[in-house]
């Protein structure tokens, strides 16, 4: 009987797994994505339900308490502002890997001293990855939320210390694999990675966090998969593998689009981004314009392409941008949006913000669709974007972002750039785009300036 119903539970897990896979398949496009979530939710419900049926379980009180508390914490985590999504993501990685680490620890103390070699190796992997992801993600969240200093903190021999820590942890793991009885070693195998997680993030600038996060994402997936090996749960192995590959692929995409060597990312993106001295800026001259003039040019245009960037996010300007979109559309101007894969601070950042402001997603073009359009574009309106529009990536072999694929805004007839100053963006380098004759700088906060333009347009703009 017990036997049979275990089989039933396994079959429930099988179905849950299939639903998880379908859930990701359906995320492939907006039209099926909602169905995707549903599949994921049903799968999760089945999996949890199945577990609750398991025979080993004798006491449901603690489980109940845990679930209730979890829900209570989860709801606010689900309701955060869209602009807070990056740190929220980091935080949830921390929670996930916390769970994995705790389970791993408990499993060890339950099984020691007789833990088979393979089992002990995956267990160690689970715990080391889990622990460093836990503290690492917390640090990342802290930096993104700016409760921790954004700027990289570096000191001599840092990499040496960090890698040293990791080596020690692995050494202990090896020892435990051969002598699983030496329980006194175990706390170090948990503790040292916890420290390493912190040290690993310390030298990384806040802006680099997104890449780190999705890397931590794949670590979290791997540790979950390792946990699956330990508990011999295919469901966990598969979920972990899916999560791991997702994180991995996203970090590859990011590092490619940021033109950073992938190795550089894989090894925790040590070191900070080089800040080129933007001293020679004063030399060259830029043309700036007022909201009134900008509104006039926009109203006169047939085809406008808006290029949003990190600045729109920090300024929370997306709703004003929506107003701009409306009033220009009303005037019969064809207005579209060009989204660079790493515009903003996380993959798809701009898409979510614009979607939040109810801008239809079929008006959003990705880089490959957008670039052929710029030559026929009257006005390219850049709102708080910088690096992703930097022509130096195409032309100047000495530039740190040389070779990074960018949006060819400089091909448009007129370029207008909304930003607060001449200061550089994430890559910390100057942008020759601003010194072109066809370029107009619109200095000011994205939200405020776009608001002004909208007002100008509202009050029957010129002609």
């Amino acid at each position: 009987m017990a036997h049979v119903s275990n089989t039933i539970i396994e079959i429930i897990y099988l179905i849950a797994t299939a639903l998880f896979i379908l859930s990701l398949k359906w995320m492939s496009g907006p039209s099926t994505a909602r169905r995707g979530i549903l599949a994921g939710e049903v799968g999760m419900a089945l999996a949890i339900g199945g577990t609750l049926l398991e025979h080993g379980i004798i006491d449901y009180r603690w489980i109940a308490i845990g679930l209730v508390l979890g829900a209570i914490i989860g709801v606010p985590l689900g309701m955060v502002q869209m602009t807070a999504v990056p740190q929220r993501t980091a935080l949830s990685h921390a929670f996930g890997s916390c769970c994995v680490t705790l389970v791993g620890t408990a499993e060890f103390y339950l099984r020691t001293p007789n833990v088979p070699k393979f089992m002990m190796s995956v267990l160690s992997m689970e715990i080391i990855l889990g622990a460093l992801t836990f503290t690492g993600s917390l640090m990342a969240a802290g930096k993104l939320q700016e409760v921790l200093p954004q700027r990289p903190i570096t000191y001599k021999g840092q990499n040496f210390v960090n890698l040293g820590l990791l080596a020690v942890a692995i050494g202990i793991a090896v020892r435990l694999v051969t002598h699983p009885g030496e329980t006194h070693l175990f706390p170090f195998m948990v503790g040292i990675p916890l420290v390493f997680g912190v040290m690993m993030i310390v030298p990384i600038g806040g802006a680099d966090m997104p890449t780190v996060i999705s890397l931590l994402n794949s670590y979290a997936g791997l540790s979950a998969a390792a946990m699956g090996f330990v508990l011999n749960s295919k469901l966990l192995i598969i979920a972990g593998a899916l999560d791991g590959s997702s994180g991995f692929i996203l970090s590859v995409i990011m590092s490619k689009a940021m033109n950073r060597s992938f190795a550089n990312v894989l090894f925790g993106a040590f070191g900070q981004v080089q800040t080129a001295a933007a001293g020679d800026t004063e030399a060259k001259t830029v043309r700036s314009a007022t909201a009134e003039e900008a509104a006039g040019i926009l109203a006169a245009a047939n085809k406008v392409v808006v290029v949003p960037g990190y600045g729109m996010a920090v300024a929370q300007a997306q709703h004003k941008v929506r107003e701009l979109y409306d009033s220009l559309t009303k005037r019969g101007v064809d207005i579209k949006f060009a989204i660079h894969p790493v515009a903003g601070r996380m993959p798809g950042h701009m898409n979510v913000l614009l979607a939040e402001a109810d801008i239809p997603y079929d008006k959003l073009m990705d880089m490959d669709d957008a670039n052929p359009e710029f030559p026929q574009t009257d006005v390219a309106l850049i709102i708080g974007a910088n690096d992703v529009t930097n022509p130096a990536a195409r032309t100047d072999a000495s530039s740190p972002i040389y070779g990074m694929p960018i949006l060819d805004v400089d091909k448009a007839r007129t370029v207008m750039v909304i930003k607060r100053s001449m200061s550089p963006g994430f890559a910390g380098i100057d942008n020759p785009l601003y010194y072109l004759d066809r370029t107009l700088m619109l200095f000011g906060d994205a939200k405020g300036f776009v608001g002004d333009i909208v007002r100008e347009l509202g009050g029957g703009a010129h002609h």
């Binding site: 990701l24 496009g29 994505a33 949890i48 929670f95 769970c99 089992m119 999705s214 979950a224 798809g348």
Partner: protein, 99 residues
């Protein structure tokens, strides 16, 4: 843990890895942010391991750690699905959306 169980797990891991790459690679950049929060929620399936620990009462330590683990993981389940759903609700098409 029999060597056969190990092999099985390796096979499953390998296959799941292939699926992960095939599927994720084809998700449109439009949805990369919701994708992150969705995989987050799915990964929180680790909660099943935690539940077993918290419920099987094998040792006080196991129960305590298990319970904390349930809290951590389940908050991800709830939060992850919630925010993914909120994000996707926002994505609207100007054309009538084909199912």
């Amino acid at each position: 843990m029999s060597s056969e169980a190990i092999i099985n797990s390796l096979f499953v891991f390998m296959l799941a890895g292939f699926i992960g790459f095939e599927v994720i690679r084809r998700i449109s950049p439009l949805l990369h942010t919701p994708l992150m929060s969705l995989t987050n929620a799915l990964d929180a399936i680790a909660v099943v391991g935690a539940i077993a620990l918290a419920g099987e009462g094998k040792s006080t330590l196991a129960t305590i750690l298990g319970t904390i683990a349930v809290v951590a993981a389940f908050s991800n389940v709830v939060g992850g699905f919630l925010i993914t759903d909120r994000m996707l609700r926002m994505f609207k098409s100007s054309r009538p959306q084909k199912p």
